[in-house]
């Protein structure tokens, strides 16, 4: 029965899987100044997404300057020698487009979404601010207040946000992944115009950038526009390789206990340091992707969900997650939020018991086949969002992967075996390389909410 099922799936999927690869129409070019151009064609609508990704993120910040990568991202909208503060976005909007930017540990990205015939104008302005940013105190001072308000909103107003920041700091003994992207408040308060300029001069250059154009555009047209606008910018000859302080061996389990009166659903969460996807070597990461699905992908069908949320439930919510798209380290995590009246210690015991049982019984082959089916299908569904495809390539290329790695990923996933998954699980489930966190409200506050 199991074999029949597998055969059936293979037959059903042979065509769409091949189509998925063909339909994700990707072309890559390298300009002479080191800028990589990636073109993703989708001619269904006359729109285009233009993104500039820099291989620099918060993990590249100098010590004491946490938050500067993200602060600079905000300041990139504050004008150049050719553009007034705010004019960049005004021109985008005057052309019916929208624009924004984002910062992560390993990358900083800027994007516009416009009608396809505006691509040249977007490139003209993005190329302009790659080297010609002009900052004044008048613009920098209020923007510092804005990022402090952003920290208040995203982190300080959220018990889960503060807890995550503390757990991350405990996870990394030496690597800058231990600092949050937004930065520590006391360091953010001290960031200056000069800090931003120094960071900009060092990292913003064509040989540290990837431009992705996705939508109704042909590769040769995009290349011609890129040569015109980005081509003349000189490379930064002093660009340093991205080598961050490395982690020493992790030999001691860490535990983080955080109480906050705003917590209404207490939970226990454990993050293990895990291998990330590496160029030409994504097999363990693929196995861990399956492991997260198997353990905590769905409340109804995952190992944690079925064991703890059904038949005499002891948990309100469970999940497992794996983040492997990262330059230096990945993380694998499990979370259990116990039902009312059950302690976090008991929830942790439940979690450990289920994981131990899983290590004994191994992978359920029917579940394994269902997950493979879903991964295959997601390749088809993803084709519907060219912006999502653009982001996928940008994040991968700034995290040390190549276009070939991105395109090989579905195959690597499909070639994972149950044995690979158990091997990866045995490798990752080592408490010495894990942070276990308890989040709850102080006793008194918990009672108050209960009333």
């Amino acid at each position: 029965m199991r074999n029949l099922h597998a055969t059936l799936l293979a037959a059903v999927f042979a065509v769409p899987a091949a189509m998925a690869t063909a339909a994700e129409n990707v072309t890559s070019f390298m300009l002479e100044n080191g800028l990589q151009l990636v073109v993703i064609e989708d001619h269904r609508a006359a729109a285009v997404t233009h993104m500039a990704w820099y291989r620099v993120g918060s993990a590249d910040e100098p010590p004491g300057k946490s938050g500067i990568a993200h602060f600079l991202e905000h300041l990139m909208f504050k004008g150049t020698d050719d553009l007034e503060p705010g004019e960049f976005s005004r021109v985008v909007r005057a052309n019916g487009g929208s624009d924004n930017a984002f910062t992560s540990y390993d990358y900083t990205g800027y994007f516009q979404r416009v009608a396809a015939d505006r691509l040249g104008l977007m490139m003209q302005m993005e190329a302009d601010r790659m080297r010609d940013l002009v900052l004044t105190e008048e613009e920098v001072a209020p923007e510092l207040q804005v990022i402090l308000e952003e920290r208040s909103q995203r982190t300080d107003s959220s018990p889960g946000g503060l807890f995550g920041e503390q757990r991350r700091a405990a996870m990394y003994l030496n690597h800058p992944y231990g600092r949050s992207v937004i930065g520590w408040r006391h360091e953010m308060e001290g960031l200056t115009l000069q800090d931003a300029v120094d960071f900009y001069d060092e990292h913003y250059a064509p040989n540290n950038a990837i431009v992705i154009v996705a939508g109704d555009v042909y590769p040769e047209d995009a290349l011609a526009l890129a040569k015109e606008h980005y081509g003349p910018i000189a490379a930064n000859p002093d660009l340093k390789p991205r080598v961050r302080p490395a982690e020493p061996p992790h030999i001691a389990e860490r535990r983080v206990v955080y109480e906050d009166p705003r917590v209404s659903t207490p939970y226990v969460i454990r993050s293990y340091l895990a291998p990330e996807r590496n160029a030409g070597d994504q097999k363990t990461a693929a196995a861990l992707t399956f492991l997260a699905e198997i353990l905590g992908g769905s409340s109804q069908t995952s190992v944690l969900g079925r064991s703890l949320q059904f038949v005499d439930p002891t948990a309100l919510f469970t999940t497992a997650f794996y983040s492997g798209l990262s330059l230096d380290h990945g993380e694998f995590g499990v979370l259990v939020a116990p039902v009312e009246g059950r302690s976090l210690e008991e929830a942790e015991d439940d979690m450990d018991r289920v994981i131990a049982e899983f290590m004994e019984t191994g992978v359920d082959l029917e579940q394994f086949e269902r997950i493979k089916m879903q991964i295959r299908a997601s390749e088809i569904y993803e084709l519907d969002s060219v912006q999502g495809t653009a982001r996928k390539y940008g994040a991968a290329l700034t995290s040390g992967l190549t276009i070939e790695d991105v395109q090989a990923w579905p195959e690597v996933l499909q070639s994972v075996t149950p044995e690979d998954i158990m091997e990866a699980a045995a490798q990752v489930f080592d408490r010495r390389r894990a942070v276990t966190g308890f989040l709850s409200a102080p006793e008194a506050a918990e009672q108050e909410v209960g009333q």
Partner: protein, 437 residues
Amino acid sequence: MIRFISVLGLALFAALPARATVDIVPVTSPGGITAWLVEDHSIPFVSLEIRFRGGASLDLPGKRGATYLMTGLLEEGTGNMDAIAYAQRLEELAASFEFEAYDDAISISAQMLTENRDDAIAHLRGAVVSPSFSEDAIERVRAQVQSIIMGDANDPEDIASATFNQLAWGNHPYGSKREGTAESLAGLTRDDLIAAHQGALALDRVYVGASGDITGEELGLLLDTLLGGLPAEGAPMPDRADYALNGGVSVVDFETPQSVVVFGHQGIFRDDPDYIPAFILNSVVGGSGFASRLMTEVREERGLTYGIGSYLLPLDHGELYLGQFSSDNERVADAIEVVRDQWVDIAENGITQDELEAAKTYLTGAYPLRFDGNGRIANIMVGMQMSDLGTDYIPTRNDKVNAVTLDEIRTIAARLLQPENLHFVVVGKPEGLETTN
């Protein structure tokens, strides 16, 4: 050089595609169910968006939360399948079904592969037409909803919205949370859920949008299979909600470094002849991100917030004009003053010709970019049907926007923006602010 780029931007504008090219075909199934379809066979899957008008506002007195809980149980078992078997089958099909209960509608968002579409529809039909509502599933989901209610009671953003709605709408369902209260949720029985299901999911209130790899004929047959077993008529719609809030400030004490503010007053219905001028006006006030007045004055000029926005909320039975932002406790009073000043200024003086032109250019240019995926297209088509717009709305919408004059904007600004009625709900420890009245 500044001028050069600006001029270039404007010069290019002449070439802007001002019309969205989406080919909507109305479809009527053999059984009489109507739908709008955009066919696109380039990717082998289809997105379906199905909505039932009414939603959580159909809750009967004392049964608040019934529609929400019922919707949460649709995927928790049907026929001889329990929740686990149901989810396993869904995974085998690699389809995705989402069910949501909103104030005025229940939505079903589904996407399924072409090659197993019939099986996926048969599976979805079980959830929509014959959910089990088994006692163990009811208790499991009820506990999850209780935790949502407790979480919201501790979340300053939820407290702010809930407080505003309660003050604005009182005892109308809009005045309370659709999840219900801990008490009302605890009191719901299986019979209540069956009644909510029968009342909410009926054929006299269903709207369908479909986009992707399917023909009109296939869609018609699919809809009869999927929805054919539902009752012809559902529960009566709720009454109009009476707005009960005056201008002022309501402070809700909450221990947090940053106050959350929800502000607003009455708004405008979607079928109001001045809706499009109001929509353009709001785009300038606070509906369009960085370019808006509120974002410029509160964030860019003064750094008083990370983000501020405003929006028209035309519900079926009540209409609001709302805004929201967060500011550190010591600065929030200043931010509120800036908002009030803008309200007074725009109510009296309207906006400038430049602002109107920039808003028009943006809104008309951005409109065609919305139709960029099966799920989004299906979604937009259902929204249009529920707002009583015709299939000709898409090609003519930008003309309607372009036709609005500065005078019309002034008129709607004087009507829509009511500084004296502006009410601010502030959740936090705001300095220098107290509840008025």
